[in-house]
Every structure is written in C-alpha cells, then in structure tokens.
C-alpha cells in the first residue's frame, strides 16, 4: 500500500501544482551509479530484482551526475576520493539529495580510529539528507532511507514559503502535510 493508493477519485484529479510536481519528482528519483566500497554491493542488491528499488521509481541509475537527483554515497570515503565526491555533488543539478549509506559514510565506521586516510563521515564533504546506518545496511534499510528522501521531497515548497522538514512517524509517513 503506497501513499498514493486510495487518494484519487476516478478520472478527475484535483490537486495543487506543488503536489503534482513534488509527486512527480519523488516518484522518479534517479540515483547516481557510484559505489565506493562494500556497501555498494548492498546497493546493487537493492537495485536487483529481489528488493527492486524501481518500485519506488528510483531504479534508473544514471552514469553521469548531470542526470541524477540522488547521490547514494555507498562506501568508505577516502581522503583521496573526497574531492571527487564533492565535485560529483556539485555537478548534479538542483534539487539534489544525498543519502549517506553505511557506518563509514555516517561517521568513519570501522575506520574511525585507525583509518588514517578515511574521511570521518561524508557530511564533512557534502551536505547529507538522510543517514542510513549499518555495516552494511540491509537493502530494506536503504529503501527506508529512500522513502525518507521521498518524504523530504513531498514537503518541498515550490510556491512561496519555506519548505518544512518532514517529521518521522512510526507509520513511515511524515506527519506533516499528508
């Protein structure tokens, strides 16, 4: 049961421009093909048929940052890679979102103490929207993270006014504006 089911009458749809745009955008988040370490394997599993990230419209992994909306930083970010990650982020068109996937990108993970060349959290390099902890996170966790990104997009204000951050809710839906 996705959030959209049962919300429409047949044939005639009345909605706001903003909702329509946000709905379109949240249902076609294109992530960037880009994996840095072991977490990428789990990201691939998420993309494959068993977990099928395409159910959420996020299955079109783009090979270029210029066509991507979402950057899933899956894996250990080394100091050498950090500047490249930053550049890729800057090449993505707005609006763009970042998921930090795995303990390494959340805060250094297993390399926190002795990893001399590991960035202690990718949020030191690019702004992160959703953190998905785990080493590696299960595909379900990544899908959960993706749904939180969708929540965030859903709350976006296209018209005047401030976007509100979604409030997580145990039902999985954000509490605002639903």
């Amino acid at each position: 049961m996705t959030w959209i089911e049962g919300r429409f009458e047949e044939n005639v749809i009345t909605t706001t421009m903003e909702d329509a745009m946000n709905w379109g955008q949240q249902s076609s988040i294109w992530p960037m093909t880009f994996g840095l370490a072991c977490c990428a394997i789990e990201m691939m599993a998420t993309g494959a048929s068993k977990y099928d990230i395409d159910r959420f419209g996020a299955g079109a992994f783009r090979a270029t940052p210029r066509q991507a909306d979402l950057m899933i930083v899956a894996g250990t970010v080394t100091c050498k890679m950090a500047s490249r990650v930053r550049r890729l982020y800057e090449q993505m068109p707005d609006p763009k979102y970042v998921i930090a996937m795995g303990a390494c990108t959340v805060g250094g993970g297993p390399y926190f103490k002795y990893g001399y060349h590991v960035v202690k959290g990718v949020d030191l390099v690019v702004p992160v929207d959703v953190y998905v902890p785990g080493c590696p996170p299960r595909p379900e966790a990544l899908l959960e993270g993706l749904m939180r990104i969708q929540d965030k997009i859903k709350q976006r204000k296209v018209t005047r006014g401030e976007s509100q951050l979604p409030v997580p809710h145990h039902s999985g839906y954000s509490a605002l504006n639903v």
Binding site: C79, K80, Y114, Y116
Partner: protein
Amino acid sequence: MDINEIHAILLEEFGEAAVGAAPHDCIDPWIQVAAESIVDVATFVRDDERMRFDHLNDLCGCDYFEPDEKKAKKFDHEPHVEVVYHLSSMSLIHRMKLKVSVPRWKDNAEGSLPEVPSVSSVWAIADWHERECYDLVGIHFTGHPNLRRILCPEDWEGHALRKDYEMPLDYHGIRNR
C-alpha cells in the same frame, strides 16, 4: 629445487657478503641478500637454467619497530625495514623468498628514506609493487622508472605502514579524527 641448493649456488656465484651465510631456517625459509647486490641476484635467479624464477608473486615491505617504549624492551628485533621478494618458477614449479633489510632511515637521519635498488627491470610487475611499498612503507627504490605514490594522494605526507606513523589531523580542510 630446495632452498639449500639454491643458496649453495648463489653463495658460489656471489659470495657470503652478498647472499648471507645460510638460508634462514623456518617454515618459509628465505635467503638474505645485501641491498647492493639484489639486482644482480634477481637477474641471476631469473635467468639461470636451474632456477628460472620467472615470476615475482609479491614484493612487500615490512617495518620492524616498536614505538611503545615499554613494549620495545621485549621486542627482540633490531629496528629495520625489510623488502621481501616472493618468487616462483612457472616452468620448474618451485618457490623461494629473498629478503633485503635496510636501516629504517638512511644515514640515521629521520625522514630520509632508505634506498634499495629497484628490480622493476628484472620483473616488470615489480614496478607497481615497488610504488606501493614506497607509498606505504617508505622505501626509496633507486632506478625505478616512475616512483610515485600509488594509493595515497600525491601530496600525502608520511608513509602509513611505518610503525611510528602519526595520523594526519586534517587533510585539505577535512577533519580526519
């Protein structure tokens, strides 16, 4: 071919100063080679009919050092760094190890890297192995065609697998701790 036979041949060819008195006896016996003669010895064992070590499986660097003063008392090695050459022969199906040991710093001046002649002219694969060894253990391979860092960024400071290596606190403005 047995390591003792190989050692006897090398001893005959190069003398005790170059190849050490005897092979070290352990599970994986090795022959100690003086740094100056490693290229000659390597070329010889590759080309000699009886040995034909045509394949360098691996080349590693190793730092023997204990930075902790308390533990250093129990540490029963002279501080030094070693280069280990793992060789095998594809045609004659046998293996051996060569080791070269050098002081941790050249002329005991901290920061100046010890030198070992490069064997990349003997086995081409040694090119990258030596770059890695230079990058992480800090051994300068003289005569190497392209001795640059291979894993760490070019402007990295220090050699990470040295036992007294200090983690950088930040790298280009990115906090590292």
